[in-house]
Amino acid sequence: MKSSWLRVAIAYAIPILILAASIWSMTLEPSKKQTRQFTGHMQKIEKQVTDKQWEAAMSESKSAQKIYHSAVPRIQFSMERDEMKQIDMALIRLQAYIKTENQAGAVTSAMEAREHWLSLNR
């Protein structure tokens, strides 16, 4: 009697657990800490670019890129591929603009990267 009850429980638990794990993996977002760090880096870059502190801005952009790459394994199963690629591209453009000391381009790319990151959490 007990074993048949256990069997029924297992029979129901397996699909429920699988569905729960699937839902969990499909709804993963970047952690709040990562979001706070990434958007913080972008805000700093905007200020540093405006103040023409190019080396500091480059260092910040590399830190932001590290955060992005550390978030990818977590969110790759749940997020749009294009949205993620756009963040990647915006970061690369940002570094190119910082290297060429292009203020308008760098600020635009920093804002673009931040906006794409925030859209991951929506």
């Binding site: 699909p15 569905l19 699937s22 993996s25 499909m26 199963f77 749940s78 749009e80 591929r81 690629k85």
Partner: protein, 242 residues
């Protein structure tokens, strides 16, 4: 981002979700599906396919689509179980196309059903002459149920006043060389009895048996792996390779 890995994981999610939802939807046979059920199946499968390979959108909305369609089907099934009228409203009703040997032209016209369709489905039901048909009813799944006139119906043992042995469902005692003890116990049989029966047919061990079944009358069917065929019939004209 490893796209192959993402597709693999999303594929597993889609496959398992579809498997679970299909189990939830029940065991309706393909032959019993209405056109709507058929379209539902295709749509749900298509959503699962998009969930797997459409990396330009998130997996979650696809999953919600899958849940929505499955939920809608469950609601319709539940409604159909609770209210007979709802089932008839959703699935429609069987339509009589031949009544007492007369073709119902108005009913056929209403459902855009041609005489050729009727003739074809009658032939499929074994009625090659409309004269033989008393009733023909088009079921909601599109199949035609045919009741032949008494004169055209095959004679049954009752017509001939013959005494016949009853029928029963057989249960498996050995499958793939493994004895199924639970079925033996259900039939109040023992391993000893089974081994004696196998010995009578020159089988030394259950591992030599592919399938053994027994029915309510104790009739044992045994199929061994070695079939000992003298002149096996070969219907293939394909020489290979296999």
């Amino acid at each position: 981002m490893n796209e192959a890995l993402v597709v693999f994981v999303r594929g597993l999610i889609g496959f398992i979700s579809l498997l679970i939802f299909a189990r939830l939807l029940g065991k309706q046979q393909v032959s019993q599906l209405t056109f709507f059920d058929y379209v539902l199946g295709i749509t749900i499968g298509s959503i699962a396919g998009s969930l797997t390979t459409d990396l330009t959108s998130r997996a979650w909305p696809h999953f919600i689509g899958l849940v929505t369609w499955t939920g809608a089907v469950l609601v319709i099934q539940w409604g159909g179980m609770k209210w007979r009228y709802a089932a008839k409203y959703i699935d429609g009703e069987p339509i009589i196309l031949i009544l007492n040997g007369k073709i119902m032209e108005k009913a056929m016209k209403k459902i855009r059903y041609r005489i050729f369709d009727l003739q074809q489905q009658l032939r499929e039901a074994g009625a090659f002459n409309i004269d033989e048909v008393q009733y023909a009813i088009l079921e909601t799944n599109g199949k035609l149920s045919v009741l032949k006139t008494p004169i055209a119906q095959p004679a049954t043992p009752r017509d001939l006043n013959l005494a016949v042995k009853g029928t029963s469902i057989a249960s498996e005692l050995i499958y793939d060389g493994v004895v199924i003890d639970q079925n033996l116990a259900d039939r109040n049989l023992s391993r000893y009895w089974l081994e004696q029966e196998l010995k009578k047919q020159n089988i030394s061990s259950p591992s030599e048996v592919f399938l053994a079944t027994v029915d309510d009358f104790g009739t044992l069917f045994i199929d061994t792996y070695r079939d000992h065929l003298v002149n096996p019939v070969n219907i293939s004209d394909y020489p290979g390779p296999y």
